[in-house]
């Protein structure tokens, strides 16, 4: 029954020529792959091609429709059907090959088997040696460039052009030049890459897509694309380099989950000696502690967005206010007491440090504090601002907490004034002042960019700003991107995405 379904599907794909059909093919790919896997198991269990043909009479037809490309050259272009076939080939090439090998008889014993052999060889020969492009054939012959090299060159040129919207490649590194593509295009490109996620040839393009700094609020890589990557990763069919893989984790929590779970699983199954653990970590894609810790940071960021939201949902805002107010005043009292006197008492500093360390363990409280700051009045926000400053600059003596607090207060007031009730879009001088606020001043000790950005982002997310206001804040945030670590930036991005999904939900 399923065979008939897929036969009909293959016929339908061959007859249609719209982008929707291409999308349809993409969506059915994983099911088709599973079906082919089943077929392959069946084929391998048979003892001869004759038996296979008897038990699965339509197998030849299906494989033919999936592999055979009786293309019609229209002005030298392949027909759309061939494109679809190619997609099937990419996604399930090893499965198709497996089925073909299953049908091939080493020593054909009858006419049917001989015919099957001949057909299989013909198909494979056509696929790998025939060029629909006469000029390509002629040039390969006259210049001595072998087919594999030629096709790789063409592919690289296309990859480069797809991403850089221009024709000059010169074999440059894809990530080297900035992309000039619009947000919609990025989404389109990511969708088009769904069939080729496992191809090493496309890995450079996919890496760039994953690592590209986000340029606008609405731009998001296609969900289907991320899912395709994740499932390829779980099948260990992904050929991405380390950085791109980490970026994937940031984009898609499920891929990170997958990575961590598989690591844990392999650790558990092989036993938990320290050497084994290190071995496993090294062997798996999470190479080195550095990568593993990145994974944890990422997990924490993800977790932390989810947690903040859920906690805020659980506890009424009033309760949080009370709690954090109490916390802030307690910590203030503690630091004042301990920092009294000449500050030479090490015990005092220990206490402050311990208190700070405990706060760091509950870092999400600080996040909540900043959120509450955004929704508080001028006076009410003071304790929360103090908490934020204490988190970044715990000591008076070495971190200059007092002057930092003053700076932060100034910055915060500035931001509030800029964005509360002012006309949008902001006049340029106001935006300029925002820039100055955000860029580090070389002469004086300025606030940590992450702190300023945190304030800005929280304004964008939690204040009742109109969308244009949020956009302006984001502009300012973007400018500080180079100052932030990638993980900080991603945390912010996650927050923003969360807000957007709340909006859109």
């Amino acid at each position: 029954l399923e065979m008939q379904f897929w036969l009909d599907k293959a016929v339908a794909w061959g007859q249609a020529d719209s982008p929707d059909t291409q999308k349809d093919t993409c969506l059915h790919m994983s099911r088709l792959r599973d079906f082919l896997q089943q077929l392959l198991t069946q084929v391998n269990s048979m003892s001869s091609t004759t038996e296979t043909m008897k038990r699965l009479p339509f197998l030849g037809q299906l494989l033919g429709r999936l592999c055979w490309n009786p293309y019609v050259t229209v002005c030298g272009e392949w027909s759309f059907w061939t494109t679809l076939i190619m997609m099937v080939i990419i996604l399930a090439w090893w499965l198709l090959l497996g089925c073909l090998w299953g049908l091939y008889s080493e020593h054909p014993s009858n006419a049917v088997e001989k015919k099957a052999n001949q057909w299989i060889r013909k198909v494979l020969c056509q696929l790998s040696t025939e060029e629909d492009d006469t000029a390509a054939q002629a040039l390969m012959k006259c210049t001595g460039v072998p087919a594999k090299e030629y096709h790789l060159k063409v592919l690289r040129k296309v990859l480069f052009t797809v991403f850089h919207c221009s024709g000059n490649s010169d074999n440059k590194d894809l990530s080297y030049l900035p992309c000039r593509c619009s947000c919609d295009r990025i989404v389109d490109i990511s969708e088009a890459c769904i069939p080729i996620v496992t191809c090493p040839e496309a890995s450079s393009l996919i890496s760039v897509l994953l690592q590209r700094p986000v340029a606008c609020v609405t731009e998001v890589l296609s969900e289907d694309f991320l899912n395709a990557l994740t499932s390829a990763y779980s099948r260990q069919g992904l050929a991405l380099e380390e950085q791109a893989l980490v970026s994937l984790w940031y984009h898609s929590f499920s891929s990170l989950e997958e990575a961590v779970l598989s690591l844990l699983q392999s650790v558990i199954t092989t036993g938990l000696t320290p050497q084994k653990l290190e071995q496993q970590v090294a062997q798996s894609l999470l190479v080195g502690k550095r990568l593993f810790s990145k994974a944890i940071i990422c997990a924490t960021s993800h977790h932390y967005v989810v947690k903040s939201e859920s906690v805020l949902a659980e506890m009424p805002q009033g309760a949080w206010r009370n709690h954090l107010n109490w916390l802030s005043s307690s910590l203030q009292r503690l630091t004042e007491e301990e920092e009294e006197g000449d500050g030479r008492s090490t015990r005092g500093h220990h206490n402050v440090f311990e208190a700070w360390f405990l706060l760091v363990q509950c870092a999400h409280w600080v996040q909540v504090a900043v959120q509450l700051l955004a929704t508080s009045g001028t006076e009410d926000g003071d304790p929360f601002l103090w908490l934020l400053i204490f988190y970044h600059y715990p000591t008076k003596r070495w971190h200059h907490r007092a002057s930092r607090l003053a700076q932060a207060k100034e910055a915060w007031n500035h931001i509030r004034t800029l964005f509360s009730g002012a006309a949008h879009p902001l006049p340029s001088d106001r935006l300029q002042s925002l820039d100055t606020l955000v860029s580090p001043q070389p002469e004086q000790q300025s606030l940590a960019p992450s702190l300023t950005v945190s304030l800005l982002v929280n304004v964008a997310v939690f204040c009742q700003l109109p969308p244009s206001g949020s956009a302006e804040v984001l502009q300012a945030v973007r400018k500080t991107v180079s100052l932030l670590s990638f993980s900080d930036y991603c945390s912010i991005q996650l927050l923003l995405n969360a807000k957007l999904s709340m909006h859109n939900a």
């Binding site: 090893w94 020969c125 002629a138 210049t143 460039v145 072998p146 052009t161 024709g167």
Partner: protein, 359 residues
Amino acid sequence: MTLESTISFHPFFGQETLLYQPDWYSRTFIQPTKSSFKLLCHLLSSLSSGAYQPITVNSHIFSRFHNNAAIRRIMEKQLQLTNQTLRDTIPGYTEVSFSDLPRCQHLLLVRLLNNPELPSSLMKILFDTTRPVKTMHEDYEDVTGLCSHIVQCKSVYKVLSPLADMSALGADAEVQGEMLMERLEALLNQGSETCRAEQFLGSVLQGCEGALQQFCLVIAAALLTSKNCTAQTAAHDFLLDWLQKKHSLLQYMCSLLSPTLLKDLAKEHQKLRDASCNVLKKWASEMEYSLSDGEWVLTSTGPGVSFKKLTELFLALFDASPSLRGDVEKELNALKISDGDFDVTGLSVWGDLLSALNM
């Protein structure tokens, strides 16, 4: 001398040239003798072991040494000797020349895959999908997975190419243009052997028989490659001279090109600009006014354009070179006057052309 001893006697070219005898081994496989079949299988199996890479070694040799006249001479001599010996030993042997070497991979694959005696183990090696893909910068590539890699490369390209927002040329034409230029530059660099360069262009043209349109795109792409070195300028000049000699080809090219492409080409190459201008003027002179169509049409046979496209092409040339506009205007005016200086449509192509070009 037995077959095996003949082959083992020639360490380098012997064994490989044997593989590139399409007739020999297709004959061998159709009526396999036990020894020749075993021998071939042995040779081919060692393809995957890395010990012995006839397919890629020969392509490599060709690309490395075809520009080096001295080495090429030595190799051709060696090939001659091998050819001689094998011809004496093997009936129906067709000689392999140096220039055959790059085709070998393609030939070999085609012949192998079409042969009923091909063992499935060899097919599986060629289509292996388990090994990671190596870059193309390695000199001696393993043939394992070669065919699968080609298939997948082609497939990925087809899937992505609709997304590539390219000029009229396309990624394939651009790469082909680059290949052409590289080879042309190399041939011209060798010294005064311009006939080899001409031969090369001629053989490419011949190879594109039946696909002339593609050939023109390749030439256009070749002329638009930009590396800004003297070798390339010389090669471009050579190509342009060659193109001008082939009058009908130049005409065909002009009829095919989009105005944008013509503009880009004319901007880079004055020779081409002038030659195309002459083609356009020639077309205009061969046009007659058709009362039924209400416009000028080309009466001559061969590649041509509509009056509308003619004006577009002229405008493209003027875009590329503003000074040309003035010169052409003068010329057209003179021709219009000689035609009787009418201002009525349909009487003089020159007059109508002038008004269509807003002159």
